[in-house]
């Protein structure tokens, strides 16, 4: 794998204005969905992005493909800052990055024929004569495992998995370099999930794609990702190569997240002794100071509430494994309630 950086995120912030109740004299608050994220995506890799619902991962994804304009920070695509580019300026980049959506029912226009939907990229970018588009569409349908003769059907005639293939065909039509997959399999049956994941894997090999793969399902992310970034309340908690993250999670939140995945291997079950978090994630309207995880963290100390932890290598890790935690877990250290108490005592 080359280490060429395709996408560089620098302190990306995305805020949404929120109207608070009282219509007159109500304060207009700001919801910070993404609170300063720096990440890099390397050409040809799959970067998994995991976190709970509402942690800002979908917002971050939409900032990357510029469906949303970041409030602050930079998004560099192949070295060019596209964070504030206009519709016209984005044109050439639209061809190079695409998105696959979560809902295979919502992401296809129910009133349009599938062939026309998959042909959209060619039409929008004026590629190839109109007469050749049908053949191109049918080639794409074959490539993603759909019957090319079904190009005249409507989305309603297809199953969820087939629809997701249609969405994939549309996304790869222009041979993009980057595809942001926003929970692409979470709406599908488990058996269909595997088929779609394998298809994405094959397409990556064939077309040299780079994936930003978003999911709340850790087992799926582990299966597909080269590296994994864990997000909590708008910030990145930990980034590591896939294997390292699952074996040596440093951040208490990562550890808690991993322990919530049912393990089938008894050894693994012991390694990831159950850590139950109490409470709900705090409101992003009023995020905790310091480390955003500290109110729920069994290892939290005074420093955690005062100082924002940097995302840097901890506990002797290499530069590939960074953690935003003042008190990272050591190798093999468990995070039982006792241990937490002994630290805080």
């Amino acid at each position: 794998m080359t280490t060429e950086v395709l996408v560089q995120l620098r302190d990306v912030v995305k805020e949404f204005p929120v109207q608070s109740s009282a219509a007159f004299g109500g304060r207009s608050e700001r919801l910070q969905a993404v609170a300063g994220v720096s990440l890099e995506l390397r050409r040809g890799e799959t970067l998994g992005l995991v976190g709970e619902t509402g942690c800002g991962k979908s917002t971050l994804a939409r900032c990357v493909v510029r469906l949303l304009e970041p409030s602050a920070g930079q998004v560099l695509f192949d070295g060019h800052d596209i964070s504030t580019a206009s519709h016209a300026e984005l044109g050439p980049y639209r061809r190079r990055m695409q998105m696959i959506f979560q809902d295979p029912y919502g992401s296809l226009n129910p009133r349009r024929r599938v062939g026309s939907i998959i042909g959209d990229p060619f039409e929008i970018h004026g590629i190839g004569p109109a007469g050749q588009r049908r053949r191109k569409v049918q080639d794409l349908m074959a490539l993603v495992g759909l019957n090319p003769e079904h190009y005249n059907r409507f989305p309603a005639d297809f199953s969820g998995g087939q629809r997701q293939r249609i969405g994939i065909a549309r996304a790869i039509a222009l041979r993009p370099e980057l595809i942001v997959c926003d929970e692409p399999v979470s709406a599908l049956d488990v058996s269909i999930q595997a088929q779609i994941l394998n298809l994405l894997d094959e397409l990556q090999d064939e077309l040299g794609l780079t994936y930003l793969f978003i999911s709340h399902d850790l087992s799926v992310v582990r299966h597909v990702s080269d590296r994994v970034a864990v997000m909590y309340l708008g910030r990145i908690a930990e980034v590591a190569p896939s294997a390292a993250l699952y074996e040596r999670a440093r951040h208490p939140y990562t550890r808690a997240l991993l322990s919530s995945v049912p393990a089938f291997d008894p050894d693994e079950r012991r390694a990831h002794a159950s850590v139950l978090l109490t409470g709900d994630p705090p409101s992003p309207l009023d995020p905790p100071r310091g480390c955003r995880f500290h109110p729920r963290c069994p290892r939290a100390q005074a420093r955690c509430a005062a100082e924002v932890p940097q995302l840097i290598p901890r506990a002797g890790d290499g530069p590939e494994h960074t953690t935003a935690c003042h008190f990272p877990l050591a190798d093999g250290e468990t995070m039982s309630t006792d241990a937490a108490r002994s630290v805080t005592a």
């Binding site: 939409r62 998105m99 009133r111 024929r113 019957n147 003769e149 059907r153 309603a156």
Partner: protein, 307 residues
């Protein structure tokens, strides 16, 4: 494999048409409307057949010696009016005006409403506020008073009627379409189109228009009867198509002077107006049910529906 016919999915429109074909109320109203259309087209033929032009006054045969209109009979099938004109032929010619105004005014209203509604819903923000407030203003205008004033100002006529009716009808369509467009804007397929680099025009017309068109078509069918009634009102008040061109509205005005002695002057044009507006309303309901099968709201008893 190449010899096999191409597989073609039945689209939402085809499925809706199937459902419509199984709906007896829809068929009955469609037949009524087609019958009215045939009458309108065949009006000159009817004039030839009876030998009565719609504006000719038969002072000899069409009026009693005391100048009273003649009732339905062999010579004048639906009787004559106060000037001795053939009511049947006049109703037939009046059908032309009613259908023309009804269809054109509703078409224009729906076109404007759809464009303004989609534009407001898609753009949001200041554009939405501006257009929405404008629609509110149009909806709150006392339309009859203003229509009368405007018609008086520019003079009555067919074109003026169509314009007036369209102007006072489009905003209700616009508001519905706007609400739907706002919901569609957040759908993932619109996001997908944006991610592909589609511009505003493409999103509005390729992604949004086909989805709101079901609503638009239902509204169009329901607007036609109200436009016909609106036209009749304008004509009744002398501000529609000017006499001697017969319209149902101005025939009813003429009837006011004679209805105590000549019931047919009131009953036949009134029945024509009632019949056609009722047929369009029933068809509109059926079209709505056919386009949205989940919306299972039938009117009256004995409706076949989709089941």
């Amino acid at each position: 494999m190449s010899a096999a016919p191409p597989i073609r999915g039945r689209g939402p429109w085809e499925l809706a048409f199937e459902r419509l074909r199984r709906d007896r109320a829809a068929i009955a109203s469609a037949i009524t409307i087609l019958f009215a259309l045939a009458i309108a087209l065949a009006a000159p033929l009817l004039a030839q057949l009876t030998g009565h032009s719609p504006i000719e006054q038969f002072t000899e045969t069409g009026l009693s010696p005391t100048g009273i209109p003649v009732g339905p009979g062999r010579e004048f099938w639906l009787g004559t009016d106060g000037l001795g004109r053939d009511v049947l032929v006049r109703i037939a010619y009046g059908t032309r005006v009613s259908l023309l105004v009804g269809v054109l005014a509703s078409g224009l209203a729906v076109l404007i409403g759809a464009i303004v509604g989609i534009a407001a819903g898609w753009h949001g923000g200041a554009v939405d506020t501006l257009l929405s407030r404008f629609m509110d203003v149009v909806l709150s205008l006392p339309f009859l008073i203003l229509a009368l004033a405007l018609a008086a100002l520019v003079g009555p006529g067919l074109g003026v009627s169509i314009f007036l009716i369209a102007f006072f009808s489009w905003a209700s369509v616009g508001r519905i379409v706007r609400a739907e467009a706002r919901a569609i804007r957040e759908r993932e397929y619109v996001q997908a189109a944006r991610a592909l680099g589609a511009g505003s025009a493409r999103i509005m017309f390729v992604e949004m228009l086909p989805v709101v068109s079901a609503t638009v078509i239902v509204y169009a069918t329901l607007l036609i009867p109200s436009s016909i009634a609106f036209e009749a009102t304008l004509s009744f008040l002398g501000l529609g198509v000017p006499p001697p061109t017969p319209t149902w509205g101005n025939m009813l005005t003429d009837a006011m002077a004679y209805y105590k002695v000549a019931w047919w002057l009131l009953v036949f044009p009134g029945a024509a107006l009632l019949g056609i507006t009722y047929a369009f309303n029933v068809l509109g309901d059926s079209v709505r049910d056919a386009l949205d099968p989940r919306h299972d709201q039938t009117i009256g008893a004995g409706r076949g529906g989709a089941g």
